[in-house]
Amino acid sequence: MRSVSIIGVGCTKFGERWDVSLRDMIAEAGVMAIGDAEITGEQIDALYVGNMSAGRFIEQEHIGALIADCAGLSRLHVPSTRVEAACASGGLALRQAVLAVASGYSDIVIAAGVEKMTDVSTGTAADALAAAADREWECFFGATFPALYAMMAKLHMRRYGTTHAQMAQVAVKNHHHACMNPIAQYHMEITIDDVFNSPMVADPLHVLDCSPISDGAAALVLAPTEMARRFSEEPIKIVGSAQASDTLALHDRRDLTTLDATVHAGRSAFTQAGIEPRHVDVAEVHDCFTIGEILAIEDLGFVEKGQGGKATEDGMTALGSSLPINTSGGLKACGHPVGATGIKQAYEIVLQLRGKAGKRQVDEAEVGLAHNVGGSGGTALVHIFTR
């Protein structure tokens, strides 16, 4: 297997992008990444795009061909593949691209992600997202995504004494980080009281505990590490790429306060990279709900099980502390266009490792991690990056 590096990145502004279409966004992100890598279309061997549900959101399938077409690559007949793992579709697209390059089958490969969610009503969007859960045995009984994470939160609070204020602190911190990120959906500081006073969605989660509905796209250009310096002065190495699955329905899990898929993908990625969680300088984790970030930092081994709330309250995960989590603003405040999220996480880590993250730059960041979850934990991907 060959070592793989990222030689170019691009990402659109995330948010409610009424003025642009899925086609506009994927082309914008793709052109940015290709320009950043200084490659030409003729050099691209393959495309992988993460997209959860264009069929529901814009009534468009066959996204692989669509993005090759939008990217101006149709006349070159570049193979283009859409991959789907709910909210982990972007992370999965990155992994497919890594495998294509690592295997030696392809040299220059694009990993992209896109979702256009605001062309449908909030109700339709919520129902499309609910399709990542078990439609027959969760949604049929009235389960929603916030409800599934709320049930994890409730049990975590009961077992470990985690408080809603600790969860709210995740949102407060991630909004603070997002204020320093030009592509973030929200540039708005919030307080713990703002979270408490926002409408209840599923007890104990309020609106401000939840990631928003967003539009956006992101793209990365991958190359074998041995070729990377030809294209980029600052290639970022992918030293770990792992994926794990678990039961589709939350209720079938071994433990309702652990995402075993995260645990397994994390261990595998750390083993590949030959490093330990304490060596990570900056991480993007899947905070679709505030409890999600607390579970993630526990399940990835950054803190002990049950200590995620306390670590957040103590400020350990804020910019300027020992382990800054979600410097982009995370899904919570940077936005969560589901198929794009996994690629945006890698984009943020690349900026951090290049030292180009502006006001939210982590000092001397050398090792970064991206963690992307599908559904309530049926899929997890973990990627580890180094300078």
Binding site: D127, F141, P146, K154, R158, M200, V201, A202, H251
Partner: protein, 139 residues
């Protein structure tokens, strides 16, 4: 709700009567029924089993913002219940939110779960009620 009549009808035994499966090789019970035992896989011997329906609340939430199909029910309680035979399932609890507690014992009740508009089919199925309290007659 996206379920259409055939999709609902083919799972009526499970939805009405909590019928699942039991692997006699490893003695694990499954709801909904599994055709493959994740422990024994091809070596499994699965038989039909109808659950008693009694169990305990493992965790729960009260939903205030629902999808369009469940809007009329808000706020409603959703729980993960561990049936006495072992498997965990998701279901609604018919009780005030103040009445639901982790560890609470519950029993099954037959209720309307949804409707396909005014003229479509009505979906019936199982919800849960507190075991030691009088039955709640509303949804």
């Amino acid at each position: 709700m996206t379920n259409q009549a055939p999709r609902f009808w083919r799972s009526i035994p499970q939805r009405y009567n909590l019928s699942g499966t039991h692997c006699t090789c490893c003695n694990e019970y499954f709801f909904p029924p599994r055709n493959l035992c994740p422990n024994c896989r091809r070596g499994a011997h699965l038989e039909d089993y109808t659950f008693k329906g009694t169990g305990s609340v493992i965790t729960y939430t009260t939903i205030y913002t629902a999808t369009e199909d469940f809007d009329r029910l808000t706020p409603y309680n959703l729980a993960i219940i561990q049936l006495d035979e072992g498997p965990k399932i998701t279901g609604q609890i018919v009780s005030s939110s103040a009445g639901v507690k982790i560890g609470m014992r519950v029993r099954p009740v037959f209720r309307i779960l949804g409707k396909e508009g005014d003229k479509g089919i009505i979906y019936y199925g199982t919800k849960f009620a507190p075991l030691l309290e009088p039955s709640c007659s509303t949804e």
